[in-house]
Every structure is written in structure tokens, then in C-alpha cells.
């Protein structure tokens, strides 16, 4: 599994708190047996509603196409556990997310997928959004190793919880192989749990 230390590219600002996974990928697109093709439906209803109001959603905005970093605010990815949500964002082209906070389940999904989500302060999230709105070509660097996000040369401090940070830096973000190591240890925990053994 590959190490993930740094992601650089342009960024797409998606402003708002509590952006839920139903908005990221509406349930009708969950009628599938593969994640392929979800990218084009990311934020589909939000995009259509913005269009109807004469506005342009950042995911439709020509200036933000090709962005690798998504910048949002607090509690991003709340609601449904659907991995389809981070998969849709990833398949649209995003490789890292910068926000104030995330829902736990969404966060776990992004770690397992190898798409780092870093935490910044509320003020810094807005500052980074303003920088990329003013200059969509600005390079944004998410540096897991240095615990920073740099936007147009300005550096902000960023954090990743210690566990996932190590997973990204060591390439251990895909946990399956490590979980399967020493399988006998799993059996031995199971043997100690009274309910696994029918309370015998």
C-alpha cells in the first residue's frame, strides 16, 4: 500500500456546515453494485438547485474543474454512512479534504479509501476558501507530514488525528492486511467473549 504524505493541486471550495452525505450523493444513485460512475453525480441536486437559481455550484464551476482538494467547513459528511459519498468526491477528482470537522463515519471511510481529511480552524477554512475563490488557480498543498495546508504560498496549521496520520504516512491506511495478520489473536479474543461461546 502506498504512503500518502502530500497532496497538491488546485482546490474547490464548498462552503457550509453540516453538509450531509445525502447532499453529496443522493440516495437514488445508491442503486448500484459498483462505485464506478458516481463521480459525475457528486452534489447532483445541490448543483441543479444552484443552476435553477442562476448560481453555479463549485462542482460545476469551470474555474474549479480538475481540483484535487475540497475545502469545506464544519461537520462535513454528516448523516448516512454511505461510502458512496466519499467515493463520489474521489471519483470526481478530489484527493484530499480540508475542513473544520467531519462526521466520524465519513472520516473512517476516507481513511480506508486513502483520501486524507485534515482539520483546520474555522477561520482558516474560510480564509483558504477565500483565497481559492479569488484565485482558483492557486496551488493548495495538503502536507500530512508537516501538518500544514498551504494556499497560494500562505501556510495554515492543519491536523490529522495521530492514528490516521500514521496510517497515511506509513502506507497502512488500507487496514485489511494488518487486520488479517496473526489471525490466531482474533480467534483468541473470540474465545474469551462469553456470547461468542453461547455462554457455555
Amino acid at each position: 500500500m502506498s504512503e500518502i504524505k502530500k497532496i497538491s493541486g488546485t482546490a474547490v471550495p464548498v462552503r457550509g456546515n453540516d453538509i450531509d452525505t445525502d447532499r453529496i450523493i443522493p440516495a437514488r444513485f445508491l442503486r448500484c453494485v459498483s462505485f464506478d460512475g458516481l463521480g459525475e453525480h457528486a452534489f447532483e441536486d445541490d448543483r441543479a438547485q444552484d443552476k435553477a437559481k442562476g448560481k453555479t455550484h463549485p462542482f460545476d464551476d469551470a474555474r474549479f474543474q480538475g481540483a484535487k482538494v475540497l475545502v469545506s467547513n464544519s461537520n462535513f459528511g454528516c448523516g448516512s454512512s454511505r461510502e458512496h459519498a466519499p467515493q463520489a468526491i474521489y471519483r470526481w477528482g478530489v484527493r484530499a479534504i480540508v475542513a473544520v470537522s467531519y462526521s466520524e463515519i465519513f472520516y473512517g471511510n476516507t481513511v480506508a479509501m486513502g483520501m486524507p481529511c485534515v482539520h483546520v480552524s474555522a477561520a482558516d477554512a474560510e480564509a483558504i476558501q477565500s483565497i481559492v475563490e479569488a484565485d482558483p488557480k492557486a496551488e493548495v498543498v495538503v502536507d500530512i507530514e508537516a501538518n500544514t495546508v498551504t494556499a497560494a504560498g500562505k501556510t495554515f496549521s492543519a491536523t490529522v488525528p495521530e492514528g490516521p496520520r500514521k496510517q497515511f504516512l506509513t502506507g497502512g491506511w488500507d487496514a485489511t492486511s494488518e487486520l488479517l495478520k496473526d489471525f490466531e489473536d482474533i480467534r483468541s479474543v473470540a474465545r474469551k467473549l462469553p456470547y461468542v461461546n453461547a455462554f457455555a
Partner: protein, 473 residues
């Protein structure tokens, strides 16, 4: 040292500390359904993986199942494809599957407790955020994504961090017309949709102690709406009484040993919590959401709040909610006209929910007015059978409600049950997110089954208490 249930159960399931510092956690009960599992099985096949503990995974189908015509193949090709995938996957890996018609099918979070699969002291995982429901039994239960479903299938374990625990006490006695749904909506309003990120919620206090298991499931179900990945209630006699005699519950000598162990996993009296909050039952009213997040709610006699009632950082969200819902601050929530009423879901699709909605319909005595669609979706085949044996289906039909077959239905509208255009629904489900109920511009008001029933009969949001008082609640 005194410990919380969360820490005791977590510790008992740790296999090892991983190189990342996360814990490898054994999962005692894994449930799967047709929406979030097909990709997990594909990933498993890609790695030539196997399922070493097939007896610890149980499957059912709920999200895409039609609640009217359930004949196969389904009219929706994609739904049919998903059904076939779970059938094939369960067969190949030796996993039990509760199919429609088996008598055991239904919403996964209703089915597992019904069968006695969910028990105190377990770790429970499912590719569904409302897995928090199972915490009602004193289990550590949480939703996971598809890659993690693959991990559980492949290893019966997950990589997890440890959460802090916030104890939420609700004390006193609930007033008539105030239900478990109102309690959790009230808690969400107080603690916000993100207040629980990083926490497990331990629900306690005399109100929670007095609740039935079904009410406790309603409360724990929506812990996730407050950002808490799991919510739980310490097991007690109510828990044991519910489990006794269920198909998967221990029997004989094993039962006594089980109860002893279950009692031992409850939080110690002097356990230390990262945070404690206390609420008074008397302050809780029948509650209705007005916005696009489950924490945006008011008591039925209150008006929609103004932005000045919220912190500055919330202002944009509140304004977005006004615009989407087409409501104004100061406007009373009571009297809001509804087009559709949905009674069901993993939050409120259990027999006690249907009994209370039917009782309200009888007390009210009216009929769902023309132009309003009201439908009742039992949470499982067992709930349906039980309701029919009690004649609840006939009560609903008599009052103009439709009576359907078991499934998730319009909670998330992956099946044919959907809002149309800007319709407003009064819904006993758990999420009022934009577009949640199948129409990208549809609107949702969350409330209790009793409040939903009266909304259907009046065609608008109405306080249920005068109806209940009519003949004494």
C-alpha cells in the same frame, strides 16, 4: 477502576493496538443489507478473501424493497440487480439472509433486536449509520462504510479509535403526548448535529430507565444525528425481559450466565465521563423539525426561531434552511400544511409506534383528507403480522391511511415511495436533509408517530395533546 460500559465493552473486544495507534476491535454482530455490501464483497473477491466467521454476519434486505408490489423480478432493474447480488454473495459465503417472505425480513435495525441477535456487551457494526439503534441493549453499535464492511467480512475486526463518553440524563416524567422521539429531538436541538462528534452518548436518567426497549431504540437510533457514532443505554431488567425467549437469545443455564455477564458490563456507579448533561422531562414538548438538519426543531407550540437564537457561525445554515423550507422566522410550526405523511422507519416503525399512531387515529375519529397521502410501513414482517393480528391495519385503512409491506421506504426513498416536487412530508423517520425523501426539492418535518397520525388527519401540523385528552390519555 470504575469504568463506563463503553470502555468495558471496547476493552473486551480489543485484539491489539495497530501500528497506527488505532485499535483492532472484534465485531460480535455484523449486519449487512443490499445497499452497502455489494462493493464490499467485490473488494473481498479481488483479494481472494474469505469470511472466517460467517455465523457472526446476518443479512436482510430493506432499503430498496418495494412496499407495494414485491413480486420478482422488481420493476426497477437496478433494485433487482442489488437483490441478486446479496443473494449470490450470502450463498457463496454462507451468510444467513432474511428474505422477503421468510417472516423475518425487515429494516435491519428492527430485525436484529426482534430475533434476539443484538445483546448487551456486544460490538455491533453495520454499513448503515443507524446501527446506533442497537446501543439500546447496552451494546457498542456503530455504522461503518463499505471498505469497513469488507474488513469485517474478511477478519471479523475493524480498525477503530476510542471515543469519549458523554452521559446524557433525562430526569423526571414525560408529559402525556411526549414520546421517545420528542426526547431525542429535544436532545439534538440542545446539543446540535455536530455536538457529539468524538463522543459515544450514554443515555440515562429516570425517563430513560422507565422507557421500553422500543422507546430506547428510538432514542439511540438518532444518536448519530447528533454526531455521536454510537449511543447506548445500560442494560437492566427491561433489557433482559425483552430478550428472554427470542429465537437467538440464550436459554436454560446459559441464560442465567448471560444475565450475569450483561449486568457486569453496565457502567459502574462512579464511572467518570468526559462530559455530563442533564435535562428535565417537563421541559420537553411534542417536537417538530422545521429545517434541513435534525437539530433544527421546535416544540409544536413554538415559532420558527430567528437567526439571533443561534451562534454567528450557524447563521448561513439557518438562512439556508429558511430558504429551502420556505419558512420565515417567527412563523408558528403548528398549522404547517403537509402533503404526505410517512409512518415507519428504523426510528419509529415498531409495533408500539404503530399502536400509538392507530390509537391517535381512533381518538381523533377523522379521515385523512382528500389530496393528502398517508401511509404506514411496518418495520418488519414480524411487526406487520403482529399489527394485523391486533387489527391495526384495519384501523389505519378505516381512517384513510395506506397499509404497506415492510422496508425502509420513504425514510430515504430508494424504493418507489418518494415525495414529488416541493411536497412537504410529516415523517416519523430520522432525517430531514435536503432531498432526503426522494424529491430533490422535497421537504421533511420529523415528528413522533402520534404527531404524524394527527398531522395526517388534520392535513397540517397539529398538537396531539388535545386529541389524547379527549378521552383521557
Amino acid at each position: 477502576m470504575a469504568q463506563t460500559l463503553y470502555d468495558k465493552v471496547f476493552d473486551a473486544h480489543v485484539v491489539r493496538k495497530l501500528s497506527s495507534g488505532q485499535y483492532q476491535l472484534f465485531i460480535g454482530l455484523h449486519m449487512i443489507h443490499e445497499v452497502t455490501s455489494p462493493q464490499a464483497f467485490e473488494m473481498l473477491r479481488d483479494r481472494n478473501g474469505s469470511v472466517p466467521f460467517p455465523e457472526r454476519t446476518v443479512a436482510t434486505v430493506d432499503h430498496i424493497v418495494p412496499t407495494e408490489d414485491q413480486s420478482r423480478p422488481y420493476k426497477d432493474d437496478l433494485a433487482e440487480q442489488m437483490m441478486k447480488a446479496i443473494e449470490t454473495n450470502c450463498k457463496q459465503f454462507g451468510i444467513r439472509l432474511y428474505q422477503p417472505g421468510s417472516g423475518k425480513q425487515g429494516v435491519v435495525h428492527i430485525v436484529a433486536p426482534e430475533q434476539g441477535l443484538t445483546q448487551p456487551g456486544m460490538t455491533v457494526a453495520c454499513g448503515d449509520s443507524h446501527t446506533a439503534t442497537h446501543g439500546a441493549f447496552g451494546a457498542i453499535a456503530f455504522g461503518i462504510g463499505t471498505s469497513q464492511v469488507r474488513d469485517v467480512l474478511a477478519s471479523q475486526t475493524l480498525s477503530m479509535g476510542r471515543l469519549k463518553v458523554r452521559r446524557i440524563e433525562v430526569n423526571g416524567k414525560l408529559n402525556p403526548g411526549v414520546y421517545a422521539k420528542d426526547v431525542i429531538l429535544y436532545i439534538l436541538r440542545k446539543l446540535t448535529a455536530k455536538g457529539g462528534v468524538g463522543f459515544a452518548y450514554e443515555f440515562a436518567g429516570s425517563v430513560i430507565d422507565a422507557m421500553s426497549m422500543e422507546e430506547r431504540m428510538t432514542v439511540c437510533n438518532m444518536a448519530i444525528e447528533g454526531g455521536a457514532r454510537c449511543g447506548y443505554i445500560n442494560p437492566d431488567q427491561t433489557t433482559f425481559d425483552y430478550l428472554k425467549g427470542r429465537p437467538e437469545a440464550p436459554t436454560g443455564a446459559a441464560w442465567d450466565k448471560a444475565v450475569e455477564w450483561w449486568k457486569s458490563v453496565a457502567s459502574d456507579k462512579d464511572a467518570v465521563y468526559a462530559d455530563v448533561v442533564k435535562y428535565e422531562a417537563a421541559d420537553i414538548e411534542p417536537t417538530v423539525t422545521w429545517g434541513i438538519s435534525p437539530d433544527q426543531s421546535v416544540g409544536v407550540n413554538e415559532a420558527i426561531p430567528s437567526t439571533s437564537d443561534f451562534s454567528a457561525t450557524e447563521k448561513a445554515n439557518i438562512e439556508e434552511a429558511y430558504e429551502y423550507m420556505d419558512v420565515k422566522p417567527g412563523q408558528p410550526i403548528a398549522g404547517t400544511k403537509v402533503d404526505v405523511v410517512f409512518i415507519g422507519s428504523c426510528t419509529n416503525g415498531r409495533i408500539s409506534d404503530l399502536r400509538e399512531a392507530a390509537r391517535v387515529a381512533e381518538l381523533h375519529g377523522g379521515k385523512v383528507p382528500a389530496g393528502i397521502k398517508a401511509f404506514v410501513v411496518p418495520g418488519s414482517e414480524i411487526v406487520k403480522k403482529e399489527a394485523e393480528a391486533e387489527g391495526l391495519d384495519k384501523v389505519f385503512l378505516k381512517h384513510g391511511f395506506e397499509w404497506r409491506q415492510a422496508g425502509c421506504s420513504m425514510c430515504l426513498a430508494m424504493n418507489p415511495d418518494k415525495l414529488v416536487g416541493r411536497q412537504i412530508s410529516a415523517s416519523t423517520s430520522n432525517r430531514n436533509f435536503k432531498g432526503r425523501q426522494g424529491s430533490p426539492s422535497g421537504r421533511t418535518l420529523l415528528l413522533s408517530p402520534a404527531m404524524a397520525a394527527v398531522a395526517a388527519l388534520e392535513g397540517k401540523i397539529t398538537d396531539v395533546r388535545p386529541v389524547l385528552a379527549k378521552k383521557g390519555a
